[in-house]
């Protein structure tokens, strides 16, 4: 099949969605399809420009294409008779982010009218897709809640086919990934302070702001945790990541209210390691079942410390959780073969 993966784009920005779109096209090619990524530029401000781009998407044609797989607003409006939506997200400022600090459209009569147009466009045009998949339960729930549109979850696999492996169950909790406010690594450091066992913490990843890095450093020094917390403030290569996960006690991933399950969660599962997350972390619970594949703790230091201690004290159980995590990940079929088969309707 000739398949067009549709993504929106802000010129010169390359982020998660772009990686995913490129990986999807590459994988489609590996599975014998002709695939290409089509990027449509968008502009978010002034807000009325958003409507221009909704309309632009409606007026575009997609010739020579057997299947269109759009990922994002507003490019998912491009008409095509055979469209399968893999929704990463809607324009959240018009939905759950309306009324929060992230609301980019002014709360004026015109602004509310624009918000309503965006919602109505989703209501009107999204059902044109033959099938709708979302990248997470959260995205799907939002689509049901705001637009009364049903969808199925299709979890995105890891972008690279790295060989995760399971080594000895060690004595450190690892937290890998971008270090910032919403990922809450500082909360992990504070948890260590409350641990009764000598469990250690390794925070590995690049900080996005100097202020947050300093806050972590300060917390470590203030509570004399230098021996128990290791902070590797730089980009972590795939190889390092595999190594860290392989030998850890468990992995901690506690972002605030994230849609997706988090790649690192899956990477931990594939390394047969338990995962600690929080009750307000969002989509992570796709892979973390409390007491089974890891812990879902309250987002406060003592609760996290309790989880770390339990893991440290019963490494056999920790290993069993890791194994259960891997089994869960496999049963969820978070792999490209499943994604390609599902999106192309050949499963």
């Amino acid at each position: 099949m000739r398949i067009a993966v549709l993504n929106n784009c802000v010129p010169f920005l390359y982020g998660g969605a772009e990686y995913l779109a490129d990986a999807l096209a590459r994988k489609l090619q590996e599975f014998g399809h002709e695939a290409t990524v089509i990027r449509m530029p968008v502009r978010w401000d002034p807000p009325e420009r958003i409507i221009d781009h909704i309309l632009a998407a409606r007026l575009l044609r997609l010739p020579n294409t057997d299947l269109a797989i759009p990922l994002k607003f507003p490019v998912y409006y491009v008409p095509h008779p055979n469209k399968t939506l893999w929704l990463l997200h809607q324009f959240r400022q018009a939905y759950d982010l309306w009324g929060t600090q992230f609301q980019s459209i002014p709360d004026t009569q015109e602004g509310r009218a624009i918000r309503d147009v965006i919602r109505r466009a989703d209501n009107e045009y999204l059902p044109e897709a033959r099938r709708i998949y979302t990248n997470s339960k959260v995205t799907g729930d939002r689509l049901r809640k705001f637009n009364a549109i049903e969808s199925e979850v299709l979890l995105p696999p890891l972008l690279a086919d790295s060989a995760y492996r399971s080594g000895e169950t060690g004595d450190a909790i690892v937290a890998i990934g971008r270090v910032n406010d919403t990922k809450r690594q500082l909360l992990l450091v504070r948890a260590i302070k409350h641990c009764r066992t000598p469990v250690r913490l390794i925070v590995a990843g690049k900080t996005e702001s100097g202020a947050y890095a300093s806050a972590i450093e300060l917390e470590i020094r203030k509570h004399h945790l230098e021996a128990r917390v290791e902070f590797i403030d730089r980009f972590i290569s795939d190889e390092e990541k595999i190594e860290l996960l392989s030998g850890c006690l468990a992995c901690a991933y506690i972002p605030y209210d994230e849609d997706s399950y988090g790649y690192v969660t899956l990477e931990a599962c594939l390394s047969r390691k338990a995962v600690v997350t929080c009750t307000d972390s969002g989509g992570i619970d796709a892979l973390v079942r409390h007491g089974d594949t890891g812990y879902i703790a309250e987002p406060e230091p003592k609760a996290l410390a309790a989880a770390f201690d339990e893991l440290y004290l019963d490494k056999v159980r920790a290993a069993r959780m890791g194994a259960a995590g891997e089994e869960l990940a496999r049963s969820l079929r978070i792999n490209w073969e499943n994604v390609i088969r599902t999106l192309t309707g050949s499963s």
């Binding site: 530029p41 502009r43 575009l60 044609r61």
Partner: protein, 347 residues
């Protein structure tokens, strides 16, 4: 400089324009610029033309990049305050092919109005460009005639780095391009029949999808004139290594398409391999590159006269070498190199 490179694509049809954009992108990046390439989908279907033009117009890139370079029509309709166009062809069915059997719009009041709307919109988009460049003198003339736009010719060079290398001046003439009737491989065979020397001919290139019967005709022609041992017909995709070898070892090349817009990459490839180009007076764009008795021969499309030129080259290898070695100089003279192209586009 941050440069947005925007073009249109008839999705999944990889033609000259697609390569052109890729090569330009690489050349810009090689000179330290940051490039984001956008290929927006367009259908050639007449009913879709104006809607697509409106879609392009609604897309606003003006917040991004220090420069927008537009290539294939109707990308010049995109909004940007610092826009230049390297215009490679019109929507020809509404321009120079109007009134011929290749006219794509009906000759009705609607068709005429659509054509006028296309011309009007092109005038608007091109008029906004700080500069308009064309890829050939033919296209420059059309821009002047139909749009009253004065374009500067900027000949497209081969991609960097190009793999072509000089080699011995062998005993065969090479005609390397797609096998299609208007590329006139048949004229080469007809001409060979009139030669008095044992010069050989190699015709190489993939056949157009609808040109199977044409290839058969060529075979019949070769057999009829008893030229089987002097003509090699390689009707297939030629891998790069084989292609460069064919160019490196030929005596000279032939290129006489009927009335083409541009000089064609085969002529540049020949010159990159220091080979002369034999072309005809009715070939169109090649005449902008090839000068009689300097970097090739220009003869009338007459088999006897072409045959005579073939004999001259075979009998006088020094001549073939002299003409071939003049090629690079002629290319420099016309500014057919990326330094010139990039400098002009960013001026």
């Amino acid at each position: 400089m941050k440069i947005i490179l925007a073009s249109s694509t008839n999705v999944f049809v990889r033609g000259g324009a697609t390569f052109f954009v890729d090569w330009l992108g690489h050349a810009l990046e090689a000179r330290g610029h940051q490039v984001d390439t956008l290929m927006l989908p367009v259908s050639e279907e007449p009913n879709a033309l104006l809607e697509q033009m409106a879609a392009f117009r609604l897309i606003d890139l003006s917040q991004h990049g220090d420069r927008l370079i537009t290539v294939r029509t109707p990308a010049h309709l995109l909004r940007h305050p610092r826009k230049v166009s390297w215009f490679i062809h019109h929507y020809r069915g509404a321009y120079d092919l109007w009134g011929t059997r290749y006219q794509t719009l009906p000759n009705s009041p609607e068709g005429i109005a659509c054509r006028e709307a296309i011309i009007g919109a092109d005038n608007r988009g091109l008029g906004e460009c700080a500069r308009v460049f064309s890829n050939s003198g033919v296209v420059r003339d059309r821009l002047r005639k139909f749009n009253s736009v004065d374009a500067e010719v900027l000949f497209p060079p081969l991609p960097e780095p190009n793999p072509f290398r000089p080699g011995p001046y062998g005993d065969y003439l090479l005609l390397f391009c797609r096998l299609a009737h208007h590329k006139r491989q048949w004229l080469a065979i007809e001409s060979l029949r009139h030669t008095r020397t044992p010069v050989r001919l190699v015709i190489a290139g993939p056949a157009d999808p609808d040109a199977a019967s044409y290839v058969d005709e060529l075979r019949v022609l070769i057999a009829r004139y008893g030229l089987d041992d002097r003509v090699s017909l390689l009707s297939r995709w030629i891998p790069d290594e084989e292609k460069t070898a064919l160019f490196a070892q030929c005596l000279a090349t032939l290129y006489f398409p009927f009335d083409e817009d541009s000089y064609g990459y085969p002529s540049l490839e020949a010159h990159a391999a220091r080979k002369a180009v034999l072309t005809t007076t009715d070939s169109g764009g090649t005449l902008e590159l090839i000068e009689e008795d300097r970097n090739g021969f220009v003869t009338p499309p007459d088999p006897e006269q072409i045959g005579e030129a073939m004999d001259r080259l075979f009998s006088d290898r020094a001549l073939a070498q002299r003409l071939g070695e003049s090629g690079p100089e002629r290319m420099r003279e016309l500014g057919i190199h990326w330094d010139h192209v990039v400098e002009r586009l960013l001026a």
